[in-house]
Symmetry: C2
Subunit: 214 residues, 2 copies
DNA sequence: TAGATTGTTAATCGATTAACAATC
DNA sequence: TAGATTGTTAATCGATTAACAATC
């Protein structure tokens, strides 16, 4: 039943697989039939060795002298990443960021379907955001459970992050995307991925400073 | 003039330094005077070895039996990361995401001051977003140059990303934060940091799938 | 003083790159 | 066929962890 030995892909590799997939989807829409490891590498600022090494984690073989079949590799990567199925998502936080996420059509195009938007601020509960009506965060556990929500996106102020995570976890959420600065604690069963915009800006500020002091 | 040998901090370390700083600022506001490497490690899911190793890159010593002075370490980290100065920022893209960023007060609190919001869609140019009036993206080179903008945040649709980056670069931008899925090419002089929300969701989807197929 | 925690060196682990035979 | 590109093994590089003497 299990396809092979391609289990347990390291996080750094998974991250790059998402990048390959984005490019392959682009190439597919341009009807480019083949792509080589060195082309992929050049576009992403990697070495072709890294690309080929990465692709050993995935059940798809290239062809000498031609490279990889764009269509087939895209399909295989999508499957590996779970991008071939649809995921139900709850957005928590109806501030500017939550609003933007709820209205962002790209998520649905990529298979991440937002099913509800939540907040704990009474002033925000009941408001409309696109086709959504903001719901009380306290109803999250039931909502997540009943609607079989897979993923919770946390876009609340930092102080509320853990609280909101606990509500999602109580509803048996399967994974969390943490957009706050705070570190969230969850049972090992519940994977968390974090993207911190402020941290990224600080990282960038550091790089700029460094350039200048060379 | 140069403080010591603490040049060229690896990216993985820089990323963690931003996390330490966030915690230290929190502790400072709670008037906690000291913190140990193992406390920091526990909060972030690291080992105390990693924390101490990371802090060797920074010009600050702890004290045996007490740990690190919160106030002093926070100041040193802020300086290393450039979080002690203010940065001028241009947001490009006046869609939902750009709007959210422009209205997000936290950036200013962290020293990243948004000076203008841009778009190339005529329907968006001239609109108000908070206290901003959306400007034509074609005016970016002059604006960046004249207002001495340090950082450009790219929040446009993927197809427009490189174009917009080129305009920022033409104005001699010092660094870019890329919020699109696309890989942006820039001269080595211009550091780029990317945060891809869709990639993060895909990474999460993969982790969820993996848990379930154990 | 006794003991907790640092800074640092050495050991381990993992990820990236190089190299090249296999192959289309 | 000749030559470009793969898959894979080995070498290198870098990052994390372990260990422990120094020290407050």
């Amino acid at each position: 039943m299990n396809k092979g030995k391609e289990r347990q892909i390291p996080p750094s590799v998974v991250r790059r697989l998402t990048r390959y997939l984005a490019i392959l989807q682009e190439l597919r829409s341009r009807r480019t039939p083949w792509v080589s490891s060195s082309e992929l590498a050049d576009w992403l600022g990697l070495t072709s060795s890294t690309v080929r090494q990465d692709l050993t984690h995935v059940n798809f073989r290239g062809i000498s002298r031609k490279g990889y079949d764009v269509e087939g590799l895209a399909a295989t990567l999508a499957k590996t990443l779970g991008a071939d199925t649809t995921w139900s998502v709850a957005v928590v936080g109806a501030g500017n960021l939550g609003r933007a996420l709820a209205l962002h059509e790209e998520f649905a195009r990529r298979g991440f379907h937002i099913k509800g938007v939540f907040d704990s601020d009474p002033a925000k509960i009941g408001r409309r955001i696109g086709s959504f009506r903001v719901m009380d965060a306290l109803t999250l556990p039931r909502f997540v459970h009943e609607k079989k929500i897979d993923i919770g996106i946390i876009a609340v102020p930092s102080q509320a992050a853990q609280q909101v995570a606990d509500l999602l976890i109580a509803g048996r959420i399967r994974g969390l995307l943490n957009l706050t600065q705070t570190h969230i604690i969850a049972p090992k069963k519940v994977p968390i991925v974090a993207t911190r915009i402020v941290s990224s800006l600080q990282e960038l500020a550091h790089l700029i400073k460094r350039r200048h002091s060379l």
